[in-house]
Symmetry: none
Subunit: 252 residues, 2 copies
């Protein structure tokens, strides 16, 4: 039996009954339970079902699409960064989180037992947080830019202006010790600036490829960065520049 066939049969069964049991599928297909579990894991990752202890249940039509981290190259690395970044959090804080795959990974990595207030203009961040029961989630609406995956424009700016946060997780397009944080898009930069203005501290998590690069639109100076989360392999000389300007470096 082909892997793909199995997946199709599982999908059929999910559509018909709404749930499947790992053990039952294993004996039905004549494969080990491990194989079934692998199947279910993959399908869950693709958003085709939701994994539960003992089997899987049909994906809720209700739920938003899973955060697509596919297509981004450094998934592993970003998840590592995310795990390091969320150690900065504690219950009771309020956050701004903007767009980008790294921030989506961070949103996913936020422990479910933290009580937080989070405002975001990113659809994938919002989706990732939509089932965190203890998170008060505020969606910053506006015109949706599908290149960025975030809302931008006057409405978004107005929404940001009404809020304040302890920390701002800034998705950085370019990060340079002299020019600071920069973005590729004017509207995007404007929203980021507004969030920065209304936050007590800025957190940036970046992969090495963004370090020592710059984009046209300036968002925040290097001195505004409070926490910088980087890979272990980040060039020490660059980090020293940021550290000199007040950033606290944290390695993933």
């Amino acid at each position: 039996m082909l892997t793909d066939e199995r997946h199709q049969l599982i999908r059929d069964r999910l559509a018909a009954e709404g749930r499947v049991l790992a053990g039952e599928l294993a004996s039905r297909f004549g494969v080990s339970e491990d194989t079934v579990r692998r199947d279910l894991r993959e399908m869950a990752k693709a958003g085709q079902c939701r994994r539960v202890y003992g089997g899987a249940v049909a994906a809720a039509l209700f739920a938003a699409a899973p955060v697509s981290l596919r297509g981004s190259h450094a998934i592993e690395e970003k998840m590592r960064l995310a795990r390091a970044a969320v150690t900065l959090l504690s219950s009771g804080q309020s956050l701004f989180i903007d767009g980008g795959t790294t921030n989506a990974a961070i949103a996913r990595a936020i422990p479910r037992d933290l009580e937080l207030t989070i405002a975001t203009n990113s659809l994938s961040v919002a989706s990732a947080l939509s089932e965190h029961a203890l998170v008060e989630l505020i969606v910053l609406g506006g015109r949706f830019d599908r290149n960025l995956g975030t809302c931008v424009g006057a409405d978004t700016l107005a929404a940001v202006a009404q809020l304040g946060a302890d920390l701002f997780f800034l998705g950085s397009c370019g990060l340079d010790a002299s020019r600071g944080v920069t973005a590729f898009d004017s509207a995007e930069a404007e929203v980021k600036r507004a969030m920065a203005r209304n936050s007590a501290g800025i957190v940036i998590a970046v992969t090495n490829d963004k370090l020592a690069t710059a984009a046209p639109y300036r968002v925040a100076g290097p001195e505004a960065i409070r926490h910088l989360v980087v890979e272990k392999t980040a060039p020490a000389v660059t980090l020293a520049d940021f550290e000199r300007q007040g950033a606290e470096i944290r390695f993933a």
Copy 2:
């Protein structure tokens, strides 16, 4: 029995009766009372019920209702409704789409070659549309209600007030020929009313189980419905009542 199934059954029972008893659930499910208590504790933590001595009662304002619709049996039916509903669309229109599983299905069914402007307060609708290149998507932000899957509250109302639409796809909680469209939640109803006010026409797509039912909060009178999309098996007598008040019936 899966843990998740138990939770779902408890939610259903809470929605139907408003309260559950730990002992009763234990014997019904064939598990120990400790397990049921654990379930109730978790669900209470997730805001799905309120724990009381001896069992649990429904969380404030009927939070269980939308979640219990996740039952996957109706997915096929909703997709059929969705395919029928999108035939009402043509390029150039602007739409409001609110929450609910049926509207999520409609959003998914919208053809990619239509040029539309769509405003929604539903995260799942926004996600579904986030890759429709020709759709100008406007996210109506605000406080996210995870039971509804939509944004509600003052910010959302303000965002709606700035817009107008040709059609409003109204996700209906209850639909009755005399009381019209009704909702379970006050904040939800308020947003729906605002969208209705700013739309030229209202479209409602419902499965049979919603027909001839009503919820506490009134959204719009029956005469406000322009298009009503229903299953082929919908009771003719009920449909006639709507038709008499100006609705155009369309079968899936």
